[in-house]
């Protein structure tokens, strides 16, 4: 992909728009389709599709009255968006203890890596949730959330400033496969957290290609005065857990019939029929921890054909888990 490539409307774009649409529509009650489309910078057709998806969405627990009710006749006839149950949807939300706990944990996790502008919002939201929890001991489940300093997090401030300013960066990066340091100039696009590892998504001028740099392997970083080649370049969706560069490892799995859903759920590079009604699939795996979790979930209907060290890790995790039961249990 060249740095000038401009990806089209992606699923994350649509989700972000759907989230913004609800308060936008509720605040107005009625708005023309073309006006709303202009507001969100999309074609009316696209917004029409968004709305049809939005009608399927609602607040929990998803009873008919909880769905967002939009007047379809008005939309198709007059091109007007009208929300019928705005009053109902605007009522205060009540969180169950599990929901409140999930929110608190997610917000605490976000706090460390949130961009400076968003950190304030996260802190205020946390404070409100925790204040409610303080008055009602049953509101949040007891949990031990220990924040561990994220390796490489010390670079986040510099990286964000350079991304905001559209400046290039010079980084000194440790390449583990060659165990050497390299200094390179990159055009930073965004920071992503994948499986608890922070990555810098950037165009690398040394490699002349897209690269995802692990922050914990960046030894030093300095912001340059030079602007990036393509200021409009947007971050790739690293959070999907898959990215096509040298950080991935090709893995071959053998799947039994009950594990075949994997081929429909994750992008696979190739599939071949294996022995005894099994299927061999090739995947590009970015994190061994992710693979291990998938294999555990599939057990015993999947095994690793290659590389052998991944097969050993999987067996070791299964053995360690089994020993929890054989040792007479916990507690």
């Amino acid at each position: 992909m060249s740095p000038a490539a401009n990806p089209g409307d992606t699923a994350p774009d649509q989700v972000a728009r759907l989230l913004a649409l609800v308060p936008y529509l509720l605040a107005r009650g009625e708005v023309r389709l073309d006006e709303a489309a202009r507001h969100f910078g999309v074609e009316p057709d696209q917004l029409d599709r968004d709305l049809r998806l939005l009608f399927m969405t609602g607040v929990s627990p998803g009873l008919p009255g909880d769905l967002i009710e939009v007047d379809i006749d008005a939309l198709e006839g007059d091109g007007v968006i009208r929300v019928d149950n705005a009053d109902y949807l605007a009522r205060p939300v009540r969180f169950s203890p599990a929901e409140a706990t999930a929110l608190v944990v997610a917000l605490r996790t976000m706090l460390e890596t949130a961009p400076e502008g968003a950190r304030d919002v996260v802190e205020r939201t946390l404070a409100k949730l925790e204040a409610v929890a303080g008055t009602d001991p049953a509101a949040v489940l007891p949990m031990h959330v220990q924040e561990q300093p994220q390796p490489g997090a010390e670079h986040v401030g510099t990286l964000e400033r350079a991304i905001a300013a559209g400046h290039q960066l010079e980084i000194v990066y440790h390449v583990p496969s060659r165990d050497e340091q390299s200094t390179r100039v990159v055009d930073p696009r965004g920071i992503a957290r994948v499986e608890n590892v922070l990555y810098l998504d950037a165009w690398c001028h040394a490699a002349q290609d897209d690269r995802a740099f692990r922050l914990d392997r960046i030894l030093s970083v300095s912001e340059l005065d030079t602007p990036v080649a393509d200021p409009a370049a947007r971050p790739r969706d690293l959070a999907a857990g898959w990215f096509s560069d040298r950080e991935t490892t090709p893995v071959t799995l053998r799947l039994g019939p009950r594990a075949r859903w994997v081929t429909e759920y994750y992008p696979v590079l190739a599939t071949r029929p294996g022995p005894d009604d099994t299927l061999e699939v090739d995947l590009a795996v970015a994190g061994e921890a992710w693979l291990s979790q998938l294999l555990m979930r599939l057990s015993p209907h999947a095994s690793v054909v290659s590389p052998p060290e991944f097969a050993e890790t999987f067996t070791a995790v299964a053995r360690a888990t089994l020993s929890r039961y054989e040792a007479g249990g916990v507690g």
């Binding site: 099994t278 979930r297 095994s303 299964a318 360690a320 888990t321 039961y325 916990v330 507690g331």
Partner: protein, 61 residues
Amino acid sequence: VSESAETIDGEAWDLLTLHSPLDALADEVLTYGPDVVVRSPGELRDAVVARLRAVVEGGTR
């Protein structure tokens, strides 16, 4: 969805009580590896142990 939680074994473990179909719960529990252990019901415990044994003893089903 968790119904209750308490700390046991000197904060080393959290004890969660929850409702879920057994098959889905076995998948979920296995995902966490040695960090989650089923105490009851015995049916779920046996299902998880049987699946782990099958992996350790080798072979794909």
